[in-house]
């Protein structure tokens, strides 16, 4: 269970990202976070991925209060989860496969395991043929998919994605959605922040709607 207990996130400039919000996200399935622009989706994602700590309240993941982790454990937590961020670009001076391999390097994976895992991840997003390309040689939608490959390469138990399908055409974003569904079926917790309503129109997955930093309504199924 991922829990937000009375979480407020106020930025250094006084802007409030989330305002006293409490919610529960069940594990091992796909969950959406939605809302208008500026509603606080990215703020919620960054709190769950430990890029931010809440100004007040607690973010609890599997009974661990993230604010209480030591620096070392905070890094460990970041290594274990998978994350697609809007503001974490690929490195333009290295190949697609080198970019995708970064979480494995950071986690000290055995060198022999790296190539197979990278290949698998790129295959999953349909970019195996472009392994040796530089990011500058890719289309926007392809770059987004490499981002997703980088987030899943180490097969994390928890995947948190912020607008993973921005700049993608409907065919592509449906493929990505199907990928997330497959991962969730394999007991991966997948939290997707998106304003792409096509994603959850069938209401088969929980949707958390934010509005101006607060819950638009309670969780529904």
């Amino acid at each position: 269970m991922i829990e937000f207990n009375n979480v407020t996130k106020q930025y250094a400039n006084g802007q409030v990202g989330l305002r006293n919000i409490s919610l529960k996200i069940p594990l091992n399935q796909l969950v959406f976070i939605t809302g208008h622009t500026g509603a606080g989706k990215t703020t919620a994602v960054k709190l769950m991925t430990l890029r931010h700590v809440p100004t007040a309240g607690q973010v609890i993941v599997s009974d661990t209060n993230l604010s209480e982790l030591s620096r070392r454990n905070r890094s460990r937590y970041r290594r274990k989860i998978g994350a697609v961020f809007q503001d974490l670009p690929l490195l333009s001076d290295r190949s697609v496969s080198d970019n995708v391999a970064m979480p494995l390097l950071v986690d000290h994976s055995a060198p022999a395991k790296i190539l197979p895992l990278v290949t698998t991840a790129l295959e999953t997003v349909g970019l195996r043929s472009k392994m040796d390309f530089k990011p500058t040689q890719l289309a926007d939608g392809e770059i987004r998919r490499v981002n997703i490959a980088r987030a899943i390469v180490h097969q994390p138990q928890l995947l948190i994605a912020d607008e993973p399908t921005a700049n993608m055409d409907p065919t592509q974003s449906t493929k990505v959605l199907n990928l997330f569904k497959r991962l969730a079926a394999r007991k991966t917790t997948v939290v997707v922040a998106t304003h792409d309503r096509d994603f959850f129109f069938d209401r088969r997955y929980p949707v958390i709607e934010l509005r101006e930093g607060q819950l638009a309504d309670a969780m529904r199924r």
């Binding site: 960054k46 890029r51 931010h52 700590v53 460990r76 290594r79 961020f85 333009s92 950071v106």
Partner: protein, 262 residues
Amino acid sequence: MLMSHLETFLFVVQQTPELTVFLSRDVEQRGALTVRQHIVELPEVESVRIIDPDEALNSFEEQTGHHVVANYVQDNPFPITVVIQPTRAHRYSQHYEQLSNYLYGLNFVELVHFDIEWVKKLSLIQDVARVLIWALATTLLFVAVFLICNATRQQVAERVDEIKVFNTLGASRRFICRRSVYTAFWQTVLIFIVTFIMVNGLLNHLRVPLAELTAGYDISIPTLQMQWTGWLTVVGAVLILKITTAKISVNAYLRMFEKEDA
């Protein structure tokens, strides 16, 4: 090392300042040897030379320009003379005063002569030279430190995107620093090789002219070749400087990211 090279060079162009000690006229060769024994034992003395009266008369003529020989053919007024050359470290006026006081305290010593003006000038030259050398060395050191630090900082700055990605993906500080530290290490090795070749090439070029220059002055240049310990110190210092700078810059970026994300 630089210091000793330049000082050596300075001494090449300087004359050697001596003290001349005139013994009492009734002192024989034996007495002179006793005096010499006393003087030789002093730490501030480099060499002692005994000059017999005839030689002393000639030497005096050379120094003063007076032609006295003719007047004293029969009766040489000069006693046995002892010429003292102080060591390099003791060529300041206060040393001359001390030495001269000590000499006056010895048996058989009649008169101690040295050119105080000349000694003072020499002291001054030495002082100025020393200050200049230190200033030069310090400036060079600061410039070198600045260049090294700046280059290292620049290299870390070029990696800033990578540092950001690694940090966000949960890399430990040690992991993030490692690449910069590797870079710093290999660059130091490279710098060392280049400097080693350059310095040795330069010294090889300079050896012949320096030898010619010093040939007439009975001065050797013992420390021209940089010692292994010297090289090791320099390489160690550069390595520590580069690695420390790399670590500090990486940590500065990590703190910046943390603040941005706070």
